[in-house]
């Protein structure tokens, strides 16, 4: 009975995190960083021809599309920045403690789940606003804007896709943590 306990203690003292975990965290860091930066530098200025008076030729008005114009995009950039910072911090904490600190491992798993929810919500909000911008909504008379701001909309779509990949990475991290917690049993 005593020797059995000794075996389990040796297994428990091992590292809680392995190479797969670190690779996934680094991948999540890069994906969310690129997504936040892509939307954070997104700005487009085009000219729109507006006919003020029917007899005069149409006047060219410059219009700008920036990410700060839409509150959902602001939320997206902030959420991706938070999860990027968290990925960097958890990577440093794991490397510093070599995965031996049980409390740190538990806190990191708990915060991973919060990051999954945060990133999924950021993707959901931005894609729903982007869909309205792409297709418009005839019932409330919200016109589509992506026919005018083509490059802006493409950049938003790429950023959303990258952030979605980042949230899937966090989901895989939870799956790996759950498998590790379960297999030890």
């Amino acid at each position: 009975m005593e020797t059995q306990y000794k075996d389990v203690e040796v297994v428990n003292r091992g590292s809680s995190f392995n190479g797969k975990d670190l690779t996934l965290r680094f991948l999540a860091l890069t994906l969310t960083l690129i997504a936040a930066v892509l939307l954070g530098v997104d700005k487009e200025t085009t000219t729109v021809a507006i006919t003020l008076v029917p007899s005069l030729p149409p006047v060219d008005l410059p219009v700008t599309a920036k990410w700060t114009h839409m509150s959902a995009f602001v939320y997206f950039v902030i959420a991706n920045a938070i999860s990027c910072t968290y990925a960097a911090t958890s990577l440093i904490v794991i490397l510093a403690t070599s995965g031996k600190n049980k409390l740190a491992s538990l806190v990191i798993i708990i915060l991973d789940i919060v990051m999954v929810a945060l990133l999924f919500s950021a993707v959901g909000a931005t894609s729903s606003i982007g869909l309205i911008g792409y297709k418009g909504n005839s019932h409330v008379h919200w016109d589509k804007v992506c026919n005018v701001f083509n490059k802006f909309c493409h950049q938003v779509a790429i950023a959303v896709f990258l952030s979605f990949a980042g949230s899937i990475t966090y989901l895989l991290l939870i799956v790996i943590s759950a498998l590790k917690l379960h297999k030890k049993f």
């Binding site: 114009h69 538990l106 789940i113 999924f120 909000a125 949230s167 939870i174 917690l181 379960h182």
Partner: protein, 201 residues
């Protein structure tokens, strides 16, 4: 033996746990009850959110010219984000019914070993948390534009006209936020149960 000891295991803790299996079983029972209660809360909030969103239809009469009136309806299925919201929450509702049954069946089982169940619960709970969180924020984004409008894109606000519709949508979003927090607590509970099973050995 307090639950604090279980989080940071020491050699003394492992030796101590060799002689207390009944205490371990009863403390897991508490978690099973808490788990089932949270799932019932999830079912309740998801169901009420769906019902409130689905009954949010509002009709307003507009007079274009004297003598010519137009009826304009605001319904939830005029926006794809709200349709996705209702769909995602009905998935959460159905999932909560299934898992409440499974949770109660597992708590009645003799033996007290529920780690397998909590492992599967954790996987699907995290997935559902992602889906419900994205549904909440999608509906929230559209509702915010409906509330405030957007001057840069020329999207007019509608909540000054359709007050009751906006109120229904807002209440529904708050309820689904409670659902997602409930799912978060459920995942944390599963992690804690799985973690305790390792450190109790």
């Amino acid at each position: 033996m307090s639950s604090f000891d279980a989080i940071i295991p020491t050699q003394a803790n492992a030796v101590k746990s060799s002689g207390s299996p009944p205490e371990y079983k009863s403390s897991t029972k508490k978690f099973e009850v808490f788990d089932a209660a949270l799932r019932v809360l999830l079912f309740a909030t998801a169901l009420v959110a769906i019902i409130v969103m689905a009954t949010s239809k509002q009709t307003k009469v507009f007079t274009l010219l004297p003598g010519m009136t137009v009826l304009v309806v605001a319904k939830f299925d005029q926006s794809p984000a709200f349709i996705y919201f209702v769909a995602a929450l009905s998935v959460a509702c159905l999932y909560s019914i299934i898992t409440v049954v499974l949770s109660i069946l597992a708590s009645m089982k003799k033996g007290g070993d529920t780690s397998n169940l909590h492992f599967y619960f954790m996987m699907f709970d995290v997935l559902l948390l992602g889906i419900v969180a994205s549904a909440t924020s999608a509906a929230g984004g559209v509702a915010y534009i409906g509330l405030k409008g957007n001057s840069h894109t020329g999207w007019a606000k509608i909540c000054n006209v359709y007050g009751s519709f906006c109120f229904h949508v807002a209440a529904s979003i708050v309820l689904s936020l409670i659902s997602s927090i409930t799912l978060l607590l459920l995942v944390w509970l599963s992690i804690y149960v799985l973690f305790k099973k390792i450190t109790r050995r």
